[in-house]
Symmetry: C2
Subunit: 154 residues, 2 copies
Amino acid sequence: MPKLYWEDFVAGGVAEYGPRLVTRDEIVAFAAEFDPQPMHLDEEAARATMLGGLAASGWHSCVLQMRMIADGFVLASASMGSPGVEEVRWRAPVRPGDRLTVRSTVLETRASNSRPGMGLIKFQFDMLNQSGTCVMTSVSTMMIGRRPPDRGAA
Amino acid sequence: MPKLYWEDFVAGGVAEYGPRLVTRDEIVAFAAEFDPQPMHLDEEAARATMLGGLAASGWHSCVLQMRMIADGFVLASASMGSPGVEEVRWRAPVRPGDRLTVRSTVLETRASNSRPGMGLIKFQFDMLNQSGTCVMTSVSTMMIGRRPPDRGAA
């Protein structure tokens, strides 16, 4: 796979990553380590909550998305990291056995003013389950290296 | 500890949670599972990046913060979860051996229009390292149950 530079991303570009199956054991193990609220740990306790049954921590969805986009394109790119996240919305529960995919849309690209070798790309990410229900939306910006003058297009 | 309800949080209220030591092994293990970019996995590769050395994934900071606030107050509250996050800014690298704390500030509280038993609280969270450097700021909203009529103040 040729390396992806900032120039390879254009506004309106759409791609899909995954799928990733989420197991009950993973949901409970993540929650026990990072977000030990009853609705993420215990089926019976979860039934009494707004989620109506065991559901993954919203942060678990975030990091599963990170792993899907890492495998999908970030590791193949000249990624320089990210300054942060503009918005995350947890829209529907992620359940044990869900098969998640991520659809990315390039919202905007711009060159960096301060670093000539870098560009910024604003993405929208939509995480969907196997039924096509959108479980999470987010907007975040990545910093990606620009193509060096001696490299051809990917 | 008496249970915390929505009424117990007031705009301007500040609290501090943690500390939490972050080890090199944890940084690398989290990155290997969820964000396997070289700057989070390998000291030598990381030295060549903008981070200038091994640093935790920004998502790792997010989930460590979740755990600190869970232990700090969420598990003692009538938490009903969260609709999402307004903003996350990764401001400085989190390094192996850092001792992190989280300072929370209540920005705003409001009753839910749709659910009379619930209120919303908007927090700003500032994550600091042992030198007082702010490594992450974020704004997010929590849904918390209102105090039932038969319960006195905490």
